[in-house]
Amino acid sequence: MDLTYTAEQQAFRAEVRAWLAAHVPSEPLEHYDATREGFEAHRQWEKTLKSGDWGMVTWPVEYGGRGLDLIQWLIFEEEYYRAGAPGRVNQNGIFLLGPTLIEFGTHEQKQRFLPKMASGEEIWAQAWSEPQAGSDLAGVRATCVQDGDDYVLSGHKIWSSRAVFADWAFGLFRTPGTERHKGLSLIFFPLDAPGVTVNAIKKINGHVGFAEIFLENVRVPAFNRLGDEGQGWHICMATAGFERGLMLRSPARYQVATAKLAQLWEAHKDNADPALEADVVRAHMNADAYALNIYQTASRLMAGAKIGPEASTNKIFWSELDIHLMQTALSILGPIAELRQEAPDASPVDWIDDYIFALAGPIYAGSNEIQRNIIAERMLGLPR
């Protein structure tokens, strides 16, 4: 137990801070889900990041990373959010698929996909859910049929984040004749391949942040299958573990928001309900507890542990703390909370947009109801 940074870790923080100070765009980029221009501006930012070798610091050097440890990754993330750097348009790739590829991919697959992922040259979308396979993901119906050295993919995917503008997707497909968790495979396909149709779906905030994907006899090389045929469910659960347990939502995101919330409270407290201070304190406690939990998880993983079902507790905790934090801000703002940023009286931080975004948290990456089932069944041992 040693909760201090080493001299090397402090030096690393200084290095990250200096680089970001020199490179982070002074004006915020248009959101990557709003328009093609916003998306491409974020791709450009990923390339800038890669020029400083900051694409994905935890990956091995030979695959486009820096070979750093998880504590260094947390420090990087802290500085990244502290600097107000652009959102990671390739988060499906670098935070979800990347770690899974490193665990399950062949050397050739890693060489082929990881460096271009780290550089933003190829941006990824996730294609797991289907109209009839949401929380019950094992109900996937889209099929993969091996034909020589290729797979032929067919089916209907939906709620694919980033798929409107992204280059590649990783999807879950079924070998015909198989059922439930057995017979699923994780296969990559280019979103511009012949037979792929992508239809944007507008989110409640007006952005085209997700899409449905139709696949009609889409031919991809068998090389694009991660792991063995039929191993897809196992691999997806590992991916979901990374997603929920560690990488999807950096604590730094909430710590920055909490710091802004404290400033908002100081600026408005004379006109706000004094009882709201307890919520500001609570928001700080939540963000702090989440950060400590992630440091603990990182330490455990570095000592050789694996992420398990406790990852589901994280997903519930950050999604609920996010909503509470944003709700507190709206309560402090009172009647001006509903104003958009462009309105003359609006707060400099777009709390209402962040609140609307936070409402998605309990749904994506596996609904919180499913997470509670996982906790109850796999952590506590309750019967199915």
Partner: protein, 343 residues
């Protein structure tokens, strides 16, 4: 930066767990309640024999001189069995305070002795009647008296194993020990109460899980229903996010700065909230059985209730966190920052 516990730390916690699991079962409490006693001398003797009372005591006072991290793990195990004896207040708070003031005091040399503490923040003193000595406060100074040198008035608690007393005393009948660190005593007590809260919470969940696996309704174990699962999963989430706060508070308490005080307060708030949430969920999952005296959950509920308000109310502890928020820099690089670095 390393958030993992050492083998030795885990070993001590293991020793405590085994000892308590054998000697502090609900059957043991039931017998004590029937007999109207709050201390089992045989159990206390084995606690002393195992060295658990010496963990936080400095070597200069005959102790082992380990850290708050080590003792917090023991306190968590004490919470898991709702230990009746005052291990935490005596060996975790009062004895280290006395050792800092008078390391050679005879009370510290008596292995079986317990020490009670009358902190200015608490209106009552727990287990004052069975203590060999009571630490008392006047204008920041510490005094020591035996129970027969003071007037004790019993203040029955809803928790049958918390024997509370109001204390009237006269400095003329007590030994003056000089200025004491009452803030550190409060911090340790809040921290170890938080650690006990983790244990109380986990036990309440575990009892409910055992029951929900057995109890059948509509032809299935009730634990297979989502409504039941979700109560317990929600309580487990609260536990999982209190654990690292308690661990960090234990690791940082010695810094004695505004961040350390906020962490300790945070730990006490969330660990006892988790205990309350878990105990109430457990009662709900047990249904009418959960509301009966016969089922053990209510003991954990009552202990959590008592510890929530003792050693600083939630309002008191929230104010200490607010002091950190509004006096120190905020942000993701501040998780482990110290007041001295920001000065």
């Amino acid at each position: 930066m390393d958030f993992t516990l050492s083998e030795e730390q885990l070993m001590f916690a293991d020793t405590a767990r085994t000892l308590f699991a054998d000697s502090c079962t609900p059957d043991h409490w039931r017998k004590m309640m029937e007999a109207g006693v709050a201390r089992d001398d045989a159990r206390w003797a084995s606690i002393v024999e195992t060295g658990l009372t010496l963990v936080l005591l400095p070597e200069s006072a005959g102790g082992i001189g380990l850290s708050e991290t080590d003792f917090a793990l023991i306190a968590q195990e004490a919470g898991y069995v709702a230990l009746p004896e005052p291990l935490v207040e005596s060996a975790g708070v009062a004895a280290p305070m006395l050792a800092a003031l008078a390391p050679d005091h005879a009370v510290l040399a008596d292995p079986l002795a317990t020490i009670a503490i009358a902190h200015p923040l608490n209106p009552f003193v727990a287990n004052a009647d069975s203590a060999a000595a009571i630490l008392l406060e006047k204008d920041g100074e510490a005094f020591l008296a035996t129970p027969d040198q003071v007037t004790l008035t019993a203040q029955p608690s809803i928790d049958p194993f918390r024997r509370l007393f109001s204390v009237e005393w006269d400095a003329a009948n007590a030994t003056a020990l000089g200025t004491a660190d009452w803030d550190l005593a409060l911090g340790r007590a809040a921290l170890f109460n938080a650690a006990m809260g983790l244990g109380l919470a986990q036990r309440a969940v575990d009892l409910a899980v055992d029951y929900a696996k057995e109890r059948q309704q509509f032809g299935k174990p009730i634990g297979s229903y989502q409504a039941v699962k979700h109560h317990l999963a929600t309580a487990q989430v609260a536990i999982e996010f209190a654990k690292p706060v308690v661990a960090a508070a234990a690791a940082e308490i010695a810094a004695c700065d505004v961040q350390a005080r906020a962490r300790v307060s945070h730990a006490k708030l969330v660990a006892l909230e988790a205990a309350d949430k878990a105990a109430r969920a457990s009662i709900q999952v047990h249904g009418a059985m959960g509301y009966s005296w016969e089922v053990d959950v209510h003991l954990f509920l009552k202990r959590a209730l008592a510890l929530t308000q003792a050693w600083g109310t939630p309002t008191f502890h929230r104010a200490r966190i607010a002091a950190r928020i509004f006096s120190q820099p905020m942000g993701p690089d501040q998780t482990f920052a110290r007041e001295s670095e920001n000065a």
